[in-house]
């Protein structure tokens, strides 16, 4: 079971889009995928149209009030562990109840989980307790990065946090940095992508997620981009990313 955490403390970088569509692309080729929404804003949950009222979510799973399978919403080859705004309160509660080992909360809650080829965790846009739980659970990070100047500052912060977590004794690898919202028409996009590859070499995915309207439109129809526009640019890019992730092992 390959676990991947999609993280970037900056909002609007393409975390949820990447988690949903990478998951969809992997499930399209027959892999069993679990998507974990670890964001209290529940963007992933909403973008796939998962209804959570009256049902347990990841918040109850983290506090061990529910088993993960009780909270699952299943699609063909794709299962969602949804989130809800309650998760914000749950985060505080976990910090209060488990001050010394809260980073292990998700790992503990998901221990013994079987039956999936991939588990993809979507983190909130912060480097807080929930993101830390997601990082420690998978130990493997996918960092979507806008090909813009300000995004580079955020990347340095994440890398600093990775170093801190590794030094605290948790295994941690950077699966790759994914250039997102790439606009071939702007020289900034081209320069950032070019320099990223020169500087970070094999830590940058060969796949680039190009700017595409269909990526923004698909969640409005409660669909992933592969179902919404199967022949579109977005679907093409995420299929390429799925192949690259598979090659990575």
């Amino acid at each position: 079971m390959r676990k991947i955490t999609v993280i970037n403390q900056k909002g609007g970088t393409g975390k949820t889009t990447t988690a949903v569509n990478l998951g969809a692309a992997l499930s399209e080729i027959g892999r069993e995928v679990l998507l974990v929404d670890l964001d209290p804003q529940a963007g992933l949950t909403e973008s796939l149209g998962v209804e959570t009222s009256g049902r347990p979510t990841v918040a109850e799973v983290l506090t061990r009030e529910a088993e993960p399978r009780e909270a699952f919403h299943a699609f063909p080859h794709l299962t969602v562990l949804p989130s809800s705004p309650v998760l914000a309160e749950t985060e505080k509660r976990i910090l209060r109840d488990r001050p010394s080992d809260y980073p292990l909360a998700l790992k503990d809650a998901m221990a013994g989980l079987r039956g999936f080829d991939f588990v993809i965790v979507d983190c909130p846009p912060s480097l807080g307790a929930l993101s830390l739980m997601g990082m420690v659970y998978s130990g493997s990070l996918l960092i979507p990065l806008q090909t813009q100047y300000m995004a580079l500052n955020g990347l340095e912060k994440i890398l600093g946090m990775v170093k801190t977590i590794r030094e605290a004794g948790f295994p941690m690898e950077i699966l790759g940095i994914l250039p997102c919202m790439y606009d071939v028409r702007t020289s900034l996009s081209r320069q950032v992508e070019e320099h990223l590859r020169e500087t970070l070499r094999d830590k940058v995915f060969r796949t680039v997620i190009r700017q595409s309207v269909c990526l923004a439109e698909a969640p409005a129809r409660s669909k992933d981009v592969l179902s919404y526009q199967p022949g579109g640019r977005g679907a093409e890019d995420y299929r390429a990313l799925a192949q690259e992730v598979l090659r990575h092992g």
Binding site: Y149, E156, L159, G160, K163, I174, S187, Q191, T199, L200
Partner: protein, 94 residues
């Protein structure tokens, strides 16, 4: 016309360092751009310590000097007194 650089080179250098540290390929966490002190060349804090030590030794040396001077004065006084004493003892023995 040459290509306009939109992101400064230092930014990329900082990222390279951060990635090396995150990946564990760089052991130290020194500030980018600060080179380690060359062998045999004293680093800042040590230099400070030495300076402090020098000051202390100066004080010690000054103190020793004063003590030595005092001791010499005492010896001189004793010699003067001792000569008198020794003479008296010799007289007593014979």
């Amino acid at each position: 016309m040459g290509k306009k650089t939109l992101v400064p080179e230092e930014k990329w250098e900082g990222l390279r360092h951060a990635m090396e540290e995150a990946a564990g390929t760089r052991k130290t966490s020194k500030t980018p751009g600060l080179l380690p002190a060359a062998e045999g060349e004293a680093a800042g804090p040590e230099r400070g310590k030495k300076r402090g030590a020098m000051e202390e030794s100066k004080k010690e040396r000054n103190g020793e000097k004063k003590k030595k001077e005092k001791k010499q004065k005492k010896k001189e006084k004793k010699k003067k007194k001792g000569k008198k004493g020794k003479g008296k003892k010799k007289k007593g023995k014979g």
